[in-house]
Symmetry: C2
Subunit: 170 residues, 2 copies
DNA sequence: GCTAACAGGACTAAACTAGTCCTGTATTTT
DNA sequence: AAAATACAGGACTAGTTTAGTCCTGTTAGC
């Protein structure tokens, strides 16, 4: 199935609302109302996002949450990382050494590459896209093109190179 | 985390062995031995792959499993589809209509696009890559480039277009 | 008829997910 | 100062999914 968790999904919905009106802080209750997600759940999501540094919180009356940085600067990977931990398709990607087959298995390297490719792809999807307002400007086209090129490179590149990229990008 | 299930992972390992010597049928026991995965588990994996049409099975003595088609013709998506059902990042991708938020949520379209992009990316990773023998031929580079372009297009395209592509490709 | 090997499905334990709730703390308003 | 607002952290539960095993039946070769 290869799916993201429902909470991660909710996170993007909540973030979309925050992105809409980035100036003022929004309380969890307000966001629950706007998104139609139950308050305790929204609250949980927001706490995770705060820990991940994607939203800033202010306590007390008239407090609430707001984006920690511009929407254009928050990507799908960031959201996933904050909600479920770093993207890792296989065991050997997330916890190297913990898979018994690692010595003999030769698929590992390929998965590493695929993982990286997906990660890069996700990195190019910003909150702007996630809000549903498709940006069709040329700037957008350029970044997409760039990512596509990198994507091809990542797929083609050998393991060593892939790991170097990963180290530099991660 | 966004991970594939361990069984899917095993599937690629098993398929890699099958790809190595595509001529003769391999019994589940043989494959278990070659991969160091427990026999019942290998058996389960193979049954799923057979149902998915990726391997062909022969019963009886001297029977076993072999690839149903050339390794170059089996992609990562095929494996995932066979093992865990079609890739679907969100609820609304796999079961449209089942999410309560679908009426108000505007992230759905974006996830649809991302989902498609990932699917296409995975489609370009064949068993050949998964066996660990990185093919660096020009043919490979070309297909990677092609996918990259499509990838960019998919990311940039509006919902309508994305859905059209999906319908045609799926 | 015996044996090798797949087919199908039942079953279990463990892990993860979604969702709720409670207790505490910071900030503002009155 | 007191009260109200709102986040922080974590415990907890029910439900689902995953990994892995096992058993019973069927098919093919010798
Ligand atoms: S790819 Fe190979 S080494 Fe990595 S987790 Fe899967 S089986 Fe283990
Ligand atoms: S993206 Fe929106 S509509 Fe789709 S499953 Fe998530 S919340 Fe529901």
């Amino acid at each position: 199935m290869l799916r993201i968790s429902k909470l991660t999904d909710y996170a993007t919905v909540v973030l979309a609302v925050l992105a809409e009106d980035a100036a003022a802080p929004h309380s969890a209750a307000q966001l629950a109302d706007a998104t139609h997600i139950a308050l305790p759940t929204v609250s949980k999501v927001l706490k995770a996002l705060q820990r991940g540094g994607l939203v800033a919180s202010t306590r007390g009356a008239r407090g609430g949450y707001q984006l920690a940085r511009p929407a254009a600067n928050i990507s799908a990977v960031d959201v996933i990382d904050a909600m479920e931990g770093p993207v890792g398709l296989t065991e050997c990607v997330t916890h190297p050494g913990s898979c018994d087959l690692e010595a003999t298995c030769r698929s590992g390297d390929a998965w590493q590459r695929v993982n990286l490719a997906i990660r890069r792809a996700l990195q190019d999807v910003t909150l702007l896209e996630l809000t549903g307002r498709t940006t069709t400007g040329e700037a957008r086209a350029v970044t997409a093109g760039q990512t596509a090129a990198e994507f091809a490179a990542a797929l083609r590149a050998g393991t060593l190179r892939a790991r170097t990229i990963e180290g530099g990008v991660q």
